[in-house]
Symmetry: C2
Subunit: 449 residues, 2 copies
């Protein structure tokens, strides 16, 4: 039986005084969201239907079967932003943390390389490792628009290296348009799609991440089951017991209450990727019109020795989500019985220490009047991960409503993209050249070492 529980006690003024919220404030926003939630029943966003649709699940399974027969040793994923973060999250949570390192542990599964950057040093080092000419590497290039310059460039590089790559390239892109679609048609590569109306950062439950996951032997039906149950929970529960609505209300109110830095701090290394995934989802969806909280990833207990001092003694501008999950354990051996002062560790369970640190941190940040919520997850599996994906996607949809912004666009990054293309000499952007030249040639203040 899977379970996730959300403790919101420490966000209330009863716990953290004036830095916290009154129950009535939460109720007032929740009621507003509940009306919106009712509207969504009739006109859901396309991402909400994905767990019922299981979009292209049969195509994906067929494709996996076709390729698996070819004894693939490496899988290279080309994608950036929404095209990589979901997959990184799933692999981080559900594969062995040293998957690539050991044949024995990996079994017949391939090693994976997710290329979410174009740093030439890194790209060259990946090429050294996989020796793509050996015909044991499969390439998956992912771009919703099919036009992402980073992904297209990587694809051009790897296509050349792969040589005769029939049967070793899969593209995931829009059904109707874009460069990747055009290439697939011309070259005869198999294609999977991002369904209409589902943007990159909401695409984890589409082939974008489900195909790589399925290919690595992860049970994607289990992920969908969790997502479906969470969608159902949010659709049906009243506002007081509806975690989607309560969580959205708290995130919104915290920001309005001067807590504009939103820390997500999992005590669970397998959720490190999840914090990165949410960081994109929140920043890119809500960071608009001079508004939007700044998401911050932290890892417990590691960052107790890095960031906690600031959270406790720094400005009162932070709201912290602590997540705890530990479904494994190890005995702390009594290796040095002659040292009395470590009696409290000797013979104890490492998980108990891990939990005590989580609890100690929660108590001390609460005492410092830093509002926080804690999420306990009974185990890290596909079901709970699917539920968390759907929960936070719904939270962002709700926040879009509260902030009165469109959570599905990203207008702010277009200018930089245009400049980049103009600098690279893309046709049709000649009018930008003069602007760029002027900007780059203004006198600079430079200090040299």
């Amino acid at each position: 039986m899977n379970s996730i529980s959300f403790d919101i006690t420490n966000v209330l003024s009863t716990a953290v005084g004036k830095e916290g919220l009154e129950n009535t404030m939460i109720t007032s926003v929740s009621d507003k969201l509940q009306s919106y939630n009712m509207e969504l029943r009739d006109t859901p966003y396309p991402f909400m239907d994905l767990p019922s649709n299981k979009f292209q699940f049969s195509e994906m399974k067929k494709l996996c079967d076709t390729i698996n027969t070819k004894k693939i040793k490496n899988i290279v994923l080309l994608g950036i932003g929404g095209s990589s973060l979901g997959t990184e999250t799933i692999f981080n949570a559900l594969l062995h943390p040293f998957h690539n390192l050991s044949d024995a542990i990996r079994g017949h599964k391939p090693r994976y390389f997710i290329l979410d950057n174009i740093d030439p040093h890194k790209i060259n080092r990946v090429i050294e490792i996989i020796t793509p000419e050996k015909e044991d590497t499969i390439l998956i290039a992912i771009s919703k628009s099919g036009e992402t310059p980073e992904t297209i460039s990587q694809f051009m590089i790897f296509k050349e290296l792969l040589g005769n790559a029939t049967g070793r390239i899969v593209l995931i892109t829009d059904r109707d348009k874009g460069i990747l679609k055009e290439i697939a048609e011309r070259e005869g590569y198999p294609v999977l799609n991002v369904p209409d109306g589902v943007g990159g950062r909401f695409s984890v439950l589409t082939p974008v991440s489900m195909f790589p996951a399925a290919f690595m032997g992860i049970d994607i039906d289990e992920i969908m089951a969790g997502a479906k149950d969470m969608a159902q929970h949010i659709k049906e529960k009243g506002p007081v017991e509806n975690i989607g609505i309560i969580l959205s209300s708290i995130l919104y109110l915290m920001d309005k209450h001067g807590k504009n830095i939103h820390v997500m701090m999992p005590y669970c290394e397998r959720l490190s990727g999840f914090a990165d995934w949410f960081r994109q989802l929140e920043a890119e969806s809500i960071g608009k019109n001079m508004q939007g909280p700044t998401p911050l990833k932290s890892i417990g207990v590691t960052d107790q020795h890095s960031q906690l001092q600031l959270y406790i003694d720094g400005p009162k501008d932070k709201f912290i989500t602590l997540i705890y999950s530990a479904d494994d354990d190890r005995l702390i051996s009594n290796a040095f019985p002659y040292i009395e002062s470590i009696d409290y560790l000797a013979g104890k369970n490492l998980r108990d220490l891990f939990y005590a640190e989580f609890l100690g941190t929660t108590l001390s940040i609460t005492e410092s009047k830093t509002p926080n919520i804690t999420i306990l997850i009974d185990k890290i599996n596909g079901y709970n991960l699917g539920a968390l994906f759907m929960l936070y996607e719904m939270v962002i949809a709700f926040l879009g409503y509260l902030y009165e912004v469109n959570p599905f666009d990203q207008p702010g990054v277009e200018l930089g993209k245009t400049y980049t293309k103009a600098i690279m000499g893309k046709k049709g952007l000649e009018d930008k050249h003069e602007t760029i030249k002027t900007k780059l040639s203004t006198s600079k203040t430079i200090i040299r070492f």
Copy 2:
């Protein structure tokens, strides 16, 4: 010839209007800092002397020689916070990014595992991989105080697993006190020290990181040479051409000017660790007395597809340090000549695209009135890394002076540590039990899924 250049043009009001600084503001703070800098000539902080001292360099080299003969396959580092971040930074910058993955690339060097957390799942997976009973693993446990419960617990676990571990355990800790020192004496383990007066997060140029680096074949003299030249630069240059003073003045003024979120965004995957290292240094040193900017790590170009939207269209509370370094390249093949719209990529160099993205982002954030500085590093090597370590450590010392806080302590985290130990049943903390019990037993508001 190594070089690092710092462009501060876009932090000035001439570039970003009222969100920026006047030159006179910078001058006024810089002059103040220059007087302080003069004082430091006579009474330097102990970390400033490390590049001249080369503390225990001969001991480290001797120890490396002794152990190397034993055909070590794995090196396990136990440490957290300042005891791990410096080493992670150096390995990230100077070793092959897939060092652990390939015998061919690694040569005779061992694989490394840095355990900076006590998540039992991760610890157990590391143990699966290294099979410590095989006698080809060396353990380095690092804690300045010698008392860090996370590191001590890990050490207890691994000591038991290593069995007869003579010659395969090295401890790095305080010269005069602490549990690790006591254990070393009793068991006869070799010990290296953290010099007096150098705190954990300022310890990268001590055996804490220099020994692991030397053991992996990294030229630690080169790191020291860069650090030494930077210390010299800061000591001797006048305020206008002194990057330590200028940078400190800008960081301080930006925070006071409402830019309390300090993004460090390297366009260079090998400096990802450096951003984590600085994040600890700034947060833990300056986050005091309800003050202190919040450091944020971002990676270019990756986070253009994750965080840039927020930086550009979100609240005007951010100051961004962009760092660019690329000393490698690859041709973008003309793999799909029939697609005209990618003419601007075909046959170009990947590094040119990488640089165009860096430039496009810089231009667009400047146009959005987000103050920023850019740092160009000609190559990633030990010398430049050493210079950056010393630069930012000096910056934090200067910031401590400006904020009027002690940059070398971390009083805020003590309470959480005490709670953790009390929960684990440490003797002498019985008086906390009642407090904790009360806090944990107050009625909770919990929502379940």
